[in-house]
């Protein structure tokens, strides 16, 4: 009998092991399914001579530069679909800095890449949802429908990007000047080389380069990290973009250089009259820079609002936890606050709140499905049952007050 039990145990264990790994058939199936979807989406992307009407749309609010509306951006892998961005909606108002914060893998970078249509193809695709972009000429484009060919006109000229790694974002075999001029030639056909050079040098001056003429004729390896990031910013600025996307622009830099670059970004925001989408994991940087803050977790927005609302009145336990876990200067706590655990597996996300398993304020309701977003103030919204509860209580007490007054 004992032998039989042992055998049964072994079989059970084997079965449980098998459950954790996807079988070959499953992989084949997902791969097949994926390639079908990818093909379809790629076909849409690669179309040529598409009439403009097809991807023109209307902004919900003409004061916004970009409106993300229920954006879903997925990566189709053999192991399953990675929902890197899973239903994200937020706006970037004109002349503002919108900060997107979150830990690595939360989808903040993918959101910006989707906006630029630079997701790694063919696996990375915008699956559904709209990104409305308010161009300089007053037209509104639905980026998710713009075919690749036409996207080149928008990219660079209308919006440009600053990357994290200033070391690898510049081509090492060309002079700084050539790389700056090239962009101008591309977006302003008919510009003479002299004009381009003049404009490039002005650009370098704008970003606070001490000797723009000499930098113009230097190679990237001759510049320090901070200077390269300035060149990157000059490149991003050179076509007067409406929107600059800065993806962790200061993460690779030293504190003192970071302060310089942030200062520069702030000042150019006023100069270019455009908006900046600032992506970073550093809450300090966001607090100093951003007007509006979007907090992302596992592909979704869990809280958004003005910087003041997010920092002074955070509602979501994750936002609270993040803020408490930074060892801030001149704050002497016995022990640092920590959020236990890690971000859940991006494939096959649970159907309840993604943060539930790490949350210290979990209660009965959290076992239900993913919480809906509730509006706390016109600008502040949060996706959490706890906030819902509090809001309901507040409403009740207000009602009670009203009743009492009556």
């Amino acid at each position: 009998m004992k032998l039989f039990d042992n055998l049964q145990k072994k079989i059970d264990k084997k079965k449980s092991i098998q459950k954790h790994y996807i079988s070959k058939e499953q992989i084949k199936q997902t791969a097949k399914e994926n390639s079908r979807i990818i093909k379809e989406l790629e076909k849409q992307n690669n179309r040529k001579n598409v009439p403009e009407e097809e991807y023109l749309t209307k902004m919900r609010d003409s004061n916004n530069v970009v409106e993300f509306d229920d954006l879903h951006a997925y990566f189709f892998t053999d192991a399953g679909i990675v929902k890197a961005v899973d239903g994200v909606s937020f706006d970037i108002p004109k002349k503002s800095i919108v900060g997107v914060v979150g830990e690595s893998g939360c989808g903040k970078s993918v959101t910006s890449l989707a906006l630029m249509k630079l997701m790694q193809k063919p696996q990375g695709q915008i699956f559904s949802g709209e990104i409305r972009y308010n161009a300089k000429d007053g037209k509104a484009y639905n980026i998710s429908k713009v075919p690749r060919e036409d996207m080149n006109k928008i990219r660079g000229k209308e919006m440009s990007m600053i990357f994290q790694e200033p070391m690898t974002s510049l081509n090492p075999v060309f002079r700084i000047g050539d790389q700056l001029d090239e962009i101008l030639f591309l977006h302003f056909p008919g510009i003479t080389p002299e004009e381009a050079k003049e404009k490039s040098i002005t650009m370098l001056k704008t970003v606070g380069m001490a000797m723009p003429e000499s930098v113009y004729s230097r190679y990237p390896h001759e510049l320090s990290g901070g200077m390269r990031q300035r060149v990157m910013i000059a490149m991003a600025l050179s076509c007067d973009p409406n929107l600059i996307i800065a993806d962790e622009p200061t993460t690779a830099l030293d504190v003192t250089i970071q302060a310089q670059i942030l200062d520069l970004l702030r000042s150019i925001k006023n100069d270019i009259n455009g908006s900046i989408m600032l992506i970073t994991h550093d809450l300090g940087v966001i607090a100093e820079m951003a007007d509006y803050v979007v907090v992302m977790y596992a592909g979704r927005i869990i809280e958004k609002g003005t910087a003041r609302e997010i920092y002074k009145n955070p509602q979501h336990p994750y936002t609270v936890g993040l803020q408490k876990s930074i060892p801030a200067l001149n704050l002497n706590d016995e022990k640092l606050y920590t959020i236990p655990g890690t971000v859940p597996n991006p494939i096959n996300m649970p159907n309840y709140c993604y943060f539930r398993d790490r949350c210290n304020k979990r209660f009965g309701k959290c076992d239900g499905e993913y919480p809906a977003t509730i509006q706390i103030s016109p600008t502040h919204s949060v996706a959490c049952y706890l906030a819902e509860e509090i809001a309901a209580e507040l409403a009740k007490s207000k009602d009670g007050e009203k009743n009492a007054k009556k």
Partner: protein, 368 residues
Amino acid sequence: MSTLVNEAKDLKNLPNNQDANTPQSEPEMSLSDSAKVISPGQMVLRRFFRSKLSLVGLITLFAMFAFSFIGPLVSPWGEVQITGDYKWVTSILPHQIVVEELNEETGLMEEVTYVFYEVSEPYKVYAKTPPSWEHLLGTDQYGYDVLTRLMYGGRVSLLLGFLVIFAEVIIGMFFGSLSGYFGGWVDQVIMRVVDIFNCLPGLPILMLAAALIDGWGVPARQRIYYLLGILTFFGWSGIARLVRGQVLGIRELEYMVAAEATGLSTKRKIFKHIIPNVMPQIIVQATLGLGGVILSESTLSYLGIGVPFPYAAWGTMISSTSGAEGRDILQNYPNIWVPAGVCIVMAVLAFNFIGDGLRDAFDPKMRR
């Protein structure tokens, strides 16, 4: 996958609710206890088998091995068995007899060589027969069965290929890791030797060596082993250079610095930390090199300095197009030389596919 997440959650449910401020009791869970352990090697294999091209290579290779090593056991013909109307030919190797004889013209005694073929009866050799059920690929100009000789030729090529590469890897790894790990003058000396080896022209040296070896009176049958020895001698330098580069890279990685800081012995650092991490590149290089060795072996045989005539080698079989009857065979009897050529191409392609497949499977993206 979903069960994985669920289980991790279950494990956490117990202590979680009370206090989120105790990090130590809460390790980051992403895998459950019962999930199977996959070593990096297994991961590589998984990826390897996912690629169709490498599978094709692997299957081809297995087929060729079976063909060369099991085939002769099944084949009714021998490697040097002549088909013809005869009772039995004991040997087709000639006997040489040297006799002293009187030269009638000069009136002096001279050494004269007589060559005898041992044949029981006069016979008619069925040479250059077209493919038939008896001889699936026909017979060649001497009456040997082409298919059977292909099998024997495969034995030589595959076996020698592996031997040479194995020896090259051992030598190359030894000198390469020495050079990379210790640096300084050790590195200088070894790398200059490698440089010298790299600028020697391979083929002329081998041809010279072949002539020398013959001059020393080494039996023709063994000549190919000597030549391949020389091939190894000149071939390890590539692997040594590769290993050195890899070691130089790994030496700077932080786990090596950590090994230094924990006070591990040099032996352990090299064998436990460096070698396993260089292995992937070496395996890829070796697999890709195998094709090259097979090609060199065939070239030597084709030039007549490889496996000597009555024995089969793919290269020798192709060289039948260059003899006195060469043109005739080239034009009219493709069944004699084309199969050997196809075999060479297939073997080399198979090794290259496997090598490429392995390289993709070992991709450094593995780190995450």
